[in-house]
């Protein structure tokens, strides 16, 4: 077995770190760090505007990542992808730039109770602005979406915007079936998939899914922070108005008018995060080299190991599914009536880094009737030792709190 951990310098520099917060952001492998450094040291310049060789090379490198990202999600056309600053910006671009002009009062946007705030707030703002209606697909006790019994005026459902996987419960939603369900009710309903959580773990094929928009962040899949991807079917992306305007996104500008460039330039105003995009390219290469087959197999083993530990540990409640199928290694739990902050604080004493709080999912917290959880989440560099340390930490917490 290859030792993936040794590819990640953070663990060399922090030998005692037990990092269990990959659902928030992943650590970076050497190849990504080197790609960014190399680019700065060997190829750095502005893109798209220079006539000189350096700029042409940098432009080519940047555009190659666009092609790479297209292949990564099995799309077919490079012009269907724009680089954003992350998932949040990508959803905002879709919400404001496309749906902002196409939705009318009374139109329905379907979300779910397990959405991250970044896939709720832009729609709440449109609700205030336009008077659209929001419908939230309920979450069952096991953390699944209860969509089959939904009864809506489907003619009015213009968009279903859903997360592929829950950042709190780890549930992987049966997204193809859900898309089929809604497209059958109304073929004109658009589908946006938030792949921020799933993209590091699962092979995504936008053609098979038959979704219309797909968004994700580089920093959750080993790449640099500050880069994200918005993919949309070509006719939809072409029809999207730029939310940010200025340099680079024009054909001509005069005192009177501006003529906008075609996609993707139209939607990439200003100087983009070039080195971040280059780093994303290296992250894609690294993930593909390991392969989703292996990622899935290894993670499943670790998830099963962790679930067994949770089942045995007294006074610990694991939220969401207790089965290893259709779930990622994202574990939200509570220990007795101990608050998640206290959990995270005491776990930190033994170098165990977990997240506590509402995880930007207050709608889900409310649905589960809780105010916060402690969350441990894994990725390819985690081992059974990390999980053992988590549970040793949990025992320590119980001791401190005398439960």
């Amino acid at each position: 077995m290859i030792n993936i951990k040794s590819d990640f310098p953070i663990f060399k520099n922090n030998p005692d770190l037990c990092y269990l917060d990959s659902a928030a952001t992943t650590q970076k492998p050497n190849v990504v760090i080197d790609a960014v450094t190399d680019f700065y040291e060997k190829n750095y310049s502005s893109i798209h505007r220079g006539i000189y060789t350096l700029s042409q090379d940098a432009t080519e490198m940047y555009e190659n990542v666009r092609k790479k990202a297209v292949d990564f999600i099995s799309a077919s056309d490079s012009n269907e992808i724009i680089f954003t600053s992350g998932t949040t910006e990508a959803i905002n671009f879709a919400a404001i730039g496309y749906f902002g002009k196409h939705l009318k009062k009374g139109d329905i946007v379907v979300l779910s109770e397990m959405e991250h705030h970044s896939n709720i707030v832009p729609w709440l703002i449109l609700k205030q602005r336009i008077g659209i209606k929001l419908f939230f697909i309920p979450v069952t006790k096991d953390g699944n979406l209860d969509y089959k019994s939904i009864d809506l005026d489907f003619k009015k459902v213009k968009l279903v915007s859903l997360t592929h996987a829950s950042n709190v419960l780890g549930t992987v939603n049966p997204i193809s079936e859900i898309i089929l369900f809604f497209k059958k009710k109304n073929p004109n309903t658009k589908i946006l998939i938030d792949a921020a959580q799933s993209i590091p773990h699962l092979k995504i094929d936008v053609k098979k899914l038959n979704c219309d928009f797909l968004v994700f962040s580089s920093h959750k899949m080993l790449g640099p922070t500050g880069v994200g991807v918005l993919w949309a079917k070509k006719e939809l992306l072409s029809d999207m108005s730029p939310v940010i305007t200025g340099g680079h996104m024009i054909k001509t500008v005069s005192k009177e008018i501006v003529e906008l460039a075609d996609i993707p330039e139209k939607l990439e105003a200003g100087t983009k995060n070039i080195e971040g995009v280059i780093g994303l390219g290296a992250a894609i290469d690294y993930i593909e080299k390991i392969g989703f087959e292996k990622i899935k197999k290894d993670e499943k083993k670790l998830v099963e190991y962790t679930l067994k530990k949770f089942a045995k540990e007294e006074k610990v409640k694991l939220f969401g599914s207790h089965k290893s199928d259709q779930r990622l290694g994202v574990f939200s739990f509570a220990v007795g009536n101990i608050h998640s902050h206290d959990m995270a604080e005491i776990l930190n004493r033994s170098g165990v880094a977990v997240r506590s709080g509402h995880h930007c999912a207050q709608v889900l917290m409310k649905a589960l009737n809780i105010s916060s959880t402690t969350r441990a989440s894994i990725y390819i560099y985690n081992t059974t030792q990390d999980i053992d340390r988590l549970f040793a930490g949990i025992k320590e917490v119980k001791k401190v709190f005398r439960i």
Binding site: N13, N14, P15, D16, L17, I338, H339, S340, H341, D342, E345, I346, R349, S350, G351, S356, G357, H358, Q362, M365, S371, S372, V400, F401, R402
Partner: protein, 129 residues
């Protein structure tokens, strides 16, 4: 070279007896039926909520209660601080500073946990302004 602080050398001052006692059995916990003051505060970082209800008679805080979803630090702090100001003149309470609330806990806090400890103070003071 390691960036992780030396492990396992924490004294347990953060969760010393006093904090745990007040976490387990907070003073003045609950809700007053027809309060003169009702103030709700949130810690936006974690979504924790505290609701304080109080009775004021002739410029004196005669009764006060709180309910909270917060952590041990925020609960213990609320318990201690409200006990401290109960029976005091509103005028005097108004002049209190954050350090007066923190000193009740008597422990050193990181900036994140200071927010937890001060939730009770900011929520109550907000209402006196």
């Amino acid at each position: 070279m390691t960036n992780v602080k030396k492990l396992n050398n924490h004294d347990d001052s953060l969760y010393r007896e006093l904090v745990l006692d007040h976490w387990e059995n907070p003073l003045n916990y609950g809700k007053i039926k027809s309060p003169d003051i009702k103030s709700v505060g949130h810690n936006p970082v974690c979504g924790d909520q505290i609701e304080i209800t109080a009775v004021v008679k002739k410029g004196v805080l005669t009764d006060v209660a709180f309910e909270s979803t917060g952590c041990a630090i925020s609960k213990a702090s609320a318990s201690l601080f409200l006990e401290k100001i109960k029976g005091e003149k509103i005028k005097k309470i108004r002049s209190l500073k954050p350090k007066d609330a923190l000193e009740e806990l008597g422990i050193t806090l990181t900036p994140a946990r200071t927010k937890c400890a001060l939730l009770v103070f900011t929520t109550f003071q907000k209402h006196l302004k």
